[in-house]
Symmetry: C2
Amino acid sequence: MPDEPETHVDVAALSTLLDGRYKTVRDQVRANLVERKDVLGDAESMTSSEFRERVKDVVVELAGTGQTGYGFPQEYGGGGDIGASVAAFETSAFGDLSVLVKLGVQFGLFGGAILQLGTERHHKEYLERLVSADLLGAFAMTETGHGSNVQALGTRAVYDPENEEFVIDTPDAASRKDYIGNAAVHARAAVVFAQLEVAGVEQGVHAFVVPLRDEKGRTLSGIDISDCGPKIGLNGVDNGRISFHGVRVPRTALLNKYADVTESGEYVSAIDNADRRFFTMLGTLVQGRVCVGGAGINASKVALVIAIKYALRRRQFGPPGTDKETLLLDYGQHQRRLLPLLARTYALHFAQERVSADLHRVFTDPDSASERLRRALESRAAATKALGTWHASRTIQECREACGGAGYLSVNRFDALRADTDVFTTFEGDNTVLMQLVAKGRLTDLRDSFGSLDQIGMVRYVAGIAVETVVEKTAMRQFIERLQDAVPGGGQSDDPDAGLLDPAYHLSMLRWREDHLTSSVARRIKTGVDRGGDPAEVFSVAQDHVIKAAWAHGERLVLEAFHTKIENTPTGSNRDVLNMLSDLYALSVIEADRAWFMEHGRLSAGRSKAVVSMVNELCRKLRPHAADLVDAFGVPRELLRTELI
Amino acid sequence: MPDEPETHVDVAALSTLLDGRYKTVRDQVRANLVERKDVLGDAESMTSSEFRERVKDVVVELAGTGQTGYGFPQEYGGGGDIGASVAAFETSAFGDLSVLVKLGVQFGLFGGAILQLGTERHHKEYLERLVSADLLGAFAMTETGHGSNVQALGTRAVYDPENEEFVIDTPDAASRKDYIGNAAVHARAAVVFAQLEVAGVEQGVHAFVVPLRDEKGRTLSGIDISDCGPKIGLNGVDNGRISFHGVRVPRTALLNKYADVTESGEYVSAIDNADRRFFTMLGTLVQGRVCVGGAGINASKVALVIAIKYALRRRQFGPPGTDKETLLLDYGQHQRRLLPLLARTYALHFAQERVSADLHRVFTDPDSASERLRRALESRAAATKALGTWHASRTIQECREACGGAGYLSVNRFDALRADTDVFTTFEGDNTVLMQLVAKGRLTDLRDSFGSLDQIGMVRYVAGIAVETVVEKTAMRQFIERLQDAVPGGGQSDDPDAGLLDPAYHLSMLRWREDHLTSSVARRIKTGVDRGGDPAEVFSVAQDHVIKAAWAHGERLVLEAFHTKIENTPTGSNRDVLNMLSDLYALSVIEADRAWFMEHGRLSAGRSKAVVSMVNELCRKLRPHAADLVDAFGVPRELLRTELI
């Protein structure tokens, strides 16, 4: 049995802290979901097409409550508050995830593209109808043979100046639009991404609004739509495949915020560089990534509530000679499985709050946002999305296994949770590809700071790297490390535990890892290019190194967001417990990568063992607070559906 | 593009090597599965109850082909060949896994319990009917509140001497039989595990044959059966819950091989010790574990065939200035994801072949098998089952992610593969619990060897541990390690790559880890007990350490099995490629645990980095053979079902 804790969590206060600025919005969504909780079981009793209709109906109903329109201008029936729209979407992840994803397709992708890439004429024509869910739409970007590499899409849009129309075509099987949500049954229109050709000149990928079906749902001429069929999860969403055969749309169908074709048939854009234009267009879609990351983090909370509450009820084996078996959560191994994931969920929650606030700032006043701020937002969104969705896959699976055979029954929610979230790591940017974008951003920053360093600064920088490299290669590194650790905040000295719970030590470790990985990737790429290699190829060969650097960057951002939050929390029990969670998050990160830290002379063997022991110790200390910590997530009991707790 | 390989795999020969002694049996099963390949899609088009009927029909048909009866005596319509029965079951994992699990319930669990725990009277009454699938049955062990801790089951069987009957009862909700395969619809009888009470004395858990339904499928009086409902996967299997209320069965319903109640109402057993009796009974059920481990390994093969073939077809991004995008499998990161899993699948395949051969030996002539041999089999079976099924979960998930959005569609098989195999880590012994059994076995061995050491040997042994401990704690360990590595086969010296591909080095590393973990657990437990701790509690506190020791033991057994297989393979290209796979398996294992090796002074930082680089290098070298290596698994094309390749 655990000792009685000295500190007591104030669950209501912690819940309010987690809900943050948009508590009212989140509570509205909770109530809306509870009212429609039956949808959580419908996938099991309905046929696939009945379930798709049911999910569509829920989406339309939710549109009626206003919870889905926060991101759109008030003049078109929206709420005019981007932060609120992210909060509403994230919170929807407590409910059925087919509903969530269909909301995302309709309001985030389809609606978001028209809002961000279109101009007033498109807003007037479509926004009000799509905000009310009167017009359902799709986002037709991905193709069978072209996923992450959007610039290589095959669908074509050739401008016909005679008729002032674009002619849209699918040239080959690989260019068929694929996995498109809402396409198989419900969408009446789609935003279609295609290679634009004007007067024989290729202008790259652009987006067009293309009608797919008439009012009665009949597919329009020139368009073939087939059904993707059953999927691992999200079977309430009707994914489909679309081919176009000489489909004509008017000149005004081009979403023309960043480029246009004039009445006289001329291609014009305020952004000269084609690459820059393309990435500016894509950049406006960042909200989708922020939303999916948040949804992954909130789905993890649902799994943790069930698994931790179950572990506080279910007993198994126990000390001989006693009648009572031991609670699962009193096993060290079981704490190890669940509590570091709980700590990481808290950490990611606050990181998500940060990226969502950044998004709100940039998009609420887009003209005043600097290029640098936009780039930082895109990078942070990509990192948080990747870490948040990988975390969801891992956490939900671990929680299901921690509930044994009971976790295998659909009624206990893990079935849909894990099947539905599984593709989160793939859509809205494949995580592996996103991590490479993050790393590229970091390398660009590095180049920028190179640029601004004076001659002497540059020499110092390079010399710094060289010293570090030599140090690694000699037995001296052990001594150097001790010297480094001897400075305040990182103290090693005689006591291997000294400073282990110092937040400054955690941050310094995560920063050091990030800087080392980024500068060594930079060096590796520079050397490769200096030797005559093609930059893209050199980058590709260093792929694992690149991704690791991005991962390190992301985990450091998460820790900083957690620290900032704690600094702004009043002292008291809740702050004490948040500190423990932050310690557990940071030390779990270091523990998971301790081989790397040792390889690079930043952790001695003894210190590394101390980290492992401290993770165990922190799990033990957090054990008495586990129930309060999951209660604070505020997942309504009705949505847990489970028989287990 | 990869270089043309110098060696070429002889796929047919490698396939024959993999199929081994039971190639004919495996080919028979392949043909049977191909003939019924439609069942792979039926879960998507049928209702749950239609699918259950379909799966039942397939099971009955397969019984007609003889493939399911190999494990039973020929006089009852079986094949009398235990090894063949494991081969047939394993190979069935290439097909639908609901069929596989229903086969396992009927012939492995229900049939196996009657065969192994019953005597001639039970064999005569049941075997022929169950081998022909005329009598379908269930294996009612697990209860809602009692899973892995079988000794704590709550179901009761009280002997009534008056009527020479047992009265079977479910005393409370926690003692309801739960998750029982075949129970919800099809089983007409069950082997029920219950606490036996004879003349007021508790005799522990025993097994009884209890009729559940009449010929028309109506549940018998005193028995309540409910349906577990939809599950994450395996929805072709009708899992149910059973409660008993004063159900009477005759005295002869007790499966009485190890204990009986005589006509005069006396409890008798040849095994005096109750614990030993219980574990002897459970020990006879080891075949189920061997089968599930093999099924997990074979399911992994299916996933790898699809993901690797897809990665040899799908292109994405590529060098600028060229038209052609790059094949997925030419990305280092993609090789990293898939090829170490391929190597581990080969390694586990041969480990499985070994445990299956051991099982065949012990059970073909049970009377001549020593206690030691049995114990070794149980330990090996537990370790292989846990490693094989964890491997399946990880591999199938990684393969699905490696196929991106396409992997998410049910038609590409990952859906059912991963949902169905997910519970393999839980049933037939929860992996975490099994690993503790493995560790306990190792500790017992250690105690035995303590016992047989003379005084001086003991002193040396203990002193050895002490020196090692001191060495870890001083900076000297770096130098010691270099000395150790300087011996032939482990050479470090100036070249950090020296000896990295020496099988003897791999084995010495895995042995060292295992010995160190086992002896340190022993020491920890001994210290804990010496200080007055309860042995079971001390064991429980050291749980993560215990499980790690078992893991290390299992991975060493797997490597040895691989080495033995290679030694018996004729020299040539196939052997060369197997050597590469063995190297990759071993170095991946070391790489995954390199933090531990560094912490314990067995790997220097430089050497550790060299291991990581060598894993990359081996992936690159195996890349040209990847297609051949998955083809050799002999998964029929018809069973892949996928559109991807």
